[in-house]
């Protein structure tokens, strides 16, 4: 099965990647061949097999809701491209509201 260009564009859209035309064509070929290789899994009957999401016998890990020391705000903001006061600054998300 070969992916269509529209499928590649849809996945790139979901993944928030602005691919070039060249990249789209390249990934179309490569993803198709990797997925074709993965088809061999379909030969296995897994109807009664539970999925493994984690190998550990852990359920939710909870901790007490107590205040712990955290990193200084200035240190955390130091890597941000745009800050205002104690906040990360981003372009307008919802235009014309508020």
């Amino acid at each position: 099965m070969k992916l269509s260009l529209a499928q590649v564009e849809h996945v790139a859209d979901l993944a928030q990647l602005a691919l070039t035309e060249e990249e789209k064509e390249c990934f179309r070929e490569q993803l198709s061949s990797i997925l074709e290789y993965a088809e061999r899994l379909q030969a296995l009957d897994t109807a009664d097999i539970p999925a493994t999401a984690t190998v550990l016998p852990l359920e939710n890990v909870l901790r007490d809701d107590t205040v712990q020391p955290s990193l200084p705000v200035a240190d955390v903001l130091a890597n941000a491209p745009d800050v205002e006061g104690n906040c990360f600054r981003v372009p307008v998300v919802l235009e014309g509201e508020g």
Binding site: T46, V61, N79
Partner: protein, 489 residues
Amino acid sequence: MKELTDLTLEEARDLLDRRDVSSVELTQAVLDRIFSVDNDVKAYLTLTPEPALEQAANADRIRAGLGADDPPPLLGIPLAVKDILCLEGVPTTCGSRILEEYTPPFSATAVEKLQQAGAVILGKTNTDEFAMGSSTENSAFFPTRNPWDLSRVPGGSSGGSAAAVAAGMAFGALGSDTGGSVRQPAALCGVVGLNPTYGRVSRWGLVAFASSLDQVGCLARTVGDAAILFGAIAGYDARDSTSVDAPVPDYLASLKDGVRGLRVGVPREYFIEGMQPEVEAAVRAAIATLADVGAEIVDVSLPHTEYALPVYYLIAPAEASANLARYDGIRYGLSRQEKDLWDGYRQTREQGFGPEVKRRIMLGTYALSAGYYDAYYLKASQVRTLIRRDFDRALTQCDVLAAPTTPTTAFKLGEKTDDPLQMYLADVFTLALSLAGLCGLSLPCGFDQAGLPIGLQIMGGAFDEAAVLRVAHAYEQATDWHKRKPRIA
């Protein structure tokens, strides 16, 4: 006397303990070695000589003040850290343009534990971008070269750490293993690489690739050295909710127990058509050696081995596509400022990620997307259960498993870069163990005719690193492969 940089960690530690050498001398010797060979090998992304020498001087002061007390286990030992583990105040790039300018405000738990044990940190080693790769060629900055043959890859993704340890540019190093990224480069560079059980070492501060698989591991010159490093980083950490609260045994002391009475299983599915004959011969000979030193050899089967590769290359990219959603150009990392929030997000990622990372994000997003989730991600997660059951069953018949680490020795730079599937096949013998979440180690077991190292993989049950290390140590004691050094030219 041997060159200082040719010593094992244990030998260096003995010299420090006897005051025959200072940590400053040892660190300077390693730095000189790096200055002389790393222009060719290119193992380090960031070298921090001045802080390293300061840490060494501090270690010497601590040692002088100790009197007869035992020093911390790594006091004054120069080590390297894969550039996917955070080190406070030092750039942590993950081999990616998107984090080229990122300096973390904290250190990973595993790194902190090395520092608490007294280690001197030399710098950060090269990696495939976000640990995605098997050759270190996916580093956005430059490929690392194999110290045994500079035209060949060191393996990956912890190729910088493996090459540094092999070439005398560190007495040990941290790496990370998601599908073989410690064991495979260890095999290709002729060093020891240990991938601990999932949950054994805290991953706090390890930049996430595939969270159900990622583990922090270590690379070393000998099994004893690996036991020392591993003992220093193992243990529970409340900051990592997947770390397991189980006692940490004295791994170094347990090496002395030997292999008499231990059963070593040989999984028949790990000897396949198309593998390099010299690799198969060396591994078979190694198994015979284990029998000679007292292990009982049993044939076992891991019937779903052939499915590990497709399972891994659906699950790991699926998890990666979620983990790497955080690179949005807002809080840290590369940022392409556009008028529109989403444009900025997309352009940041387009410019910041390299081809393999984009490929895996695409593959993972596809495997998780509506209409394909059941056929790909869910199916792979079910087959993962079958793979784990294979190991559980086999490990009722034996204590550890022995197999090749890789199907071939180190390949040439550029040989597999155009065909992702061929590159993925380099990990064919290491993926299943990662999917099962168990522990494994690679150690040298010979050389091919071209003089390239061959790796023997010892795999064990959950939290049974002590058995894996014992078997590996017994083999190492009976052979001298680990004493060979690459001549870099």
